[in-house]
């Protein structure tokens, strides 16, 4: 039996039927992680409890466990009781949470085995995994290239088959962009579908968890496990959770092509493959129309202003008093309370995080609040309204995920603004709160993977999943 080639669904079926032991699967993947991670740097910590958890699955009742014995890697934003959770930051580098996130608990109750925690950009702030305190994760298709970010480790790990399934978070594209750079499937469901309880907060009105996998169906199954109202997160939504893994391709599917995203700034190979993907949908009975969404040219600006503002508030909790890093004051006593806080924070946060806290503070400060934060929140409504109007006429919107494939490590670190504009096609979706995915569609002439973005209306994840499933075959390379 070749465990590497098994889908999460197959593993769970075989473990439930007693044809495969969770301990064997777990041991196999743990060894693979240990063997390959020094080259990929996709994982920050491996769990010492994984084998014990697997044994419990093997020895317990498993008929109703949707993910029985399925190894899963979590981005280091998800609190895991008794397992280090760092957000890839110096300020949390030794933090062991006293509780688990709802996502962690739901996965474990469904029989999944948490193998360990994935590398990422610090506090999920970045688009290349290069802001991590633990150094960049490497793209498995070419180790000199970035994985994308911020869920870079989660994407690289699935691409390199360190686990059949991983979990990321998407605030402005942080699941879709690395999924596209690493050639895997990744979906961010509708805002509120998955509880944010126990996920380290970056920008609360955007943050949303989601799965990454080689196969669309494995992510569908994972969504069934993760979605649903959680009393511990009052922004989670009490919508019924469909059987995502049964989603059927819609007859006479209406596809909207976001016109302004198919422009001459985009790598030609991506445009060609995206057009091929749409031809494939057409041959399956889909209708394709061009769609304009208002104000997309300022989506990145709008997104960053709001996200940075929310981040500056969320990250005020790191003060060196109750948990996390504290600067060494033994030889140099603090001058006052403010000096105590700010010395710890300046040493504990990396450059990009400090830039965002400072800019968020600026946009919320007296005299600038109306021009920046409030104006951005108004533009946000205009963008969401425009998307909702589009969905009166189409079922799904299609665009590239990024203007280009992965770039070289170090190529863009000196220019933060250029890095932000990497997120040109993804941030608009988070502004609107909509579900969206990146589907692998092939490789460019450098051998680097490319992705297609599928966006649906609120709670219409099934349309994305079934359309992505249809895109397999000629276009699905993995």
């Amino acid at each position: 039996m070749n465990i590497d080639n098994m889908s999460a669904i197959e593993i769970a079926e075989k473990v439930r039927a007693g044809k495969l032991l969770a301990v064997d699967v777990t041991e196999h993947y743990l060894k693979r992680c240990q063997r390959l991670n020094n080259r990929l740097n996709a994982i920050i910590s491996l769990s010492e409890q994984a084998m014990i958890e697997a044994e419990k699955i093997d020895n317990g009742k498993k008929e109703n466990l949707a993910l029985a014995g399925v190894p899963v890697l979590l981005k280091d934003m998800f609190c895991t009781q008794n397992l280090k959770t760092t957000a890839a930051s110096k300020i949390l580098k030794e933090f062991v949470p006293p509780y688990s996130s709802t996502v962690t608990e739901k996965l474990q109750s469904a029989g999944a085995i948490v193998l360990g925690k994935c590398n990422q950009d610090e506090f999920a702030m970045g688009s290349s995994n290069e802001t991590s305190f633990f150094g960049p994760a490497k793209n498995p298709w070419n180790l000199e290239y970035v994985t994308g970010g911020s869920s870079g480790g989660s994407a690289a790990a699935v691409a390199a088959r360190l686990a059949p399934l991983s979990i990321g978070t998407d605030t402005g594209g942080s699941i879709r962009q690395p999924a596209s750079f690493c050639g895997v499937f990744g979906i961010k469901p509708t805002y509120g579908r998955i509880s944010r309880y126990g996920i380290i907060a970056f920008a609360s009105s955007f943050d949303q968890a989601g799965p990454l996998s080689l196969r669309v169906k494995d992510s569908s199954l994972c969504l069934e496990v993760l979605c649903g109202k959680d009393e511990k997160d009052s922004t989670s939504i009490s919508q019924p959770v469909p059987r995502f893994s049964n989603a059927q391709f819609k007859n006479n599917l209406k596809v909207g092509r976001i016109k302004s995203f198919f422009n001459n700034q985009v790598n030609k190979s991506i445009l060609n493959k995206a057009n091929e993907a749409m031809d494939l949908l057409k041959s399956n009975g889909a209708q394709i129309v061009d769609i304009d969404i208002d104000h997309l040219e300022v989506a990145v600006d709008t997104y960053y202003l709001i996200a940075m503002s929310e981040a500056s508030s969320n990250l005020s909790r790191y003060d060196g008093v109750r948990y996390g890093y504290r600067a060494d004051f033994s030889r140099n006593q603090p001058k006052n309370l403010e000096d105590f806080y700010s010395r710890t924070r300046s040493e504990g946060f990396g450059e990009e995080v400090k830039r965002r806290i400072a800019l968020g503070t600026y946009s919320l400060s007296s005299g600038y609040y109306e021009a920046y934060y409030l104006q951005a929140a108004k533009v946000r409504r205009l963008i969401r309204n425009s998307f909702l109007r589009a969905f009166e006429n189409v079922d799904v919107l299609v665009s590239p995920v990024t203007t280009d494939t992965a770039f070289r490590i170090g190529e863009k670190t000196e220019n933060p603004l250029e890095m932000y504009y990497n997120d040109s096609f993804t941030t608009c979706v988070n502004l609107a709160g909509l579900p969206a995915a990146s589907v692998p569609i092939g490789f460019d002439n450098k051998g680097l993977p490319m992705g297609l973005q599928l966006i649906a209306n609120d709670f219409q994840e099934e349309v994305i999943l079934s359309t992505a499933q249809k895109n397999r075959g000629p276009l699905q390379v993995l």
Binding site: S205, S234, Y304, S312, P334, R345, L359, R381, L434
Partner: protein, 90 residues
């Protein structure tokens, strides 16, 4: 942009060369973002959270207790059940 004021409000410290660098970067970013000011937004309500959510209420009953010792253990320094910090007033 008054970088010293922003640093103070953000509870961050920058030395002189860092100040120069971050001021340049922040000004460049905020100048680029200034474009959003050109979008007409009169009578538009700000969107604070994307999906309409209802106010969530629950009965006021005693829930799970937090184990204080477990949380105190996470502190950089503590004495018994108290957080310990260096002297901050002279």
């Amino acid at each position: 942009m008054d970088i010293q004021k922003i640093a103070k409000l953000s509870r961050l410290q920058f030395n002189e060369s860092e100040q120069e660098k971050i001021k340049g970067q922040l000004e460049k970013i905020i100048t680029a973002f200034d474009r959003i000011k050109n979008i007409p937004t009169e009578k538009v309500e700000p969107l604070i959270t994307p999906i309409e959510i209802e106010n969530t209420l629950r009965p006021d009953i005693h829930g799970e207790d937090i184990n204080t010792d477990k949380y105190i253990e996470l502190a950089p320094e503590s004495v018994g059940r108290l957080y310990k910090v260096p002297r901050v007033i002279s």
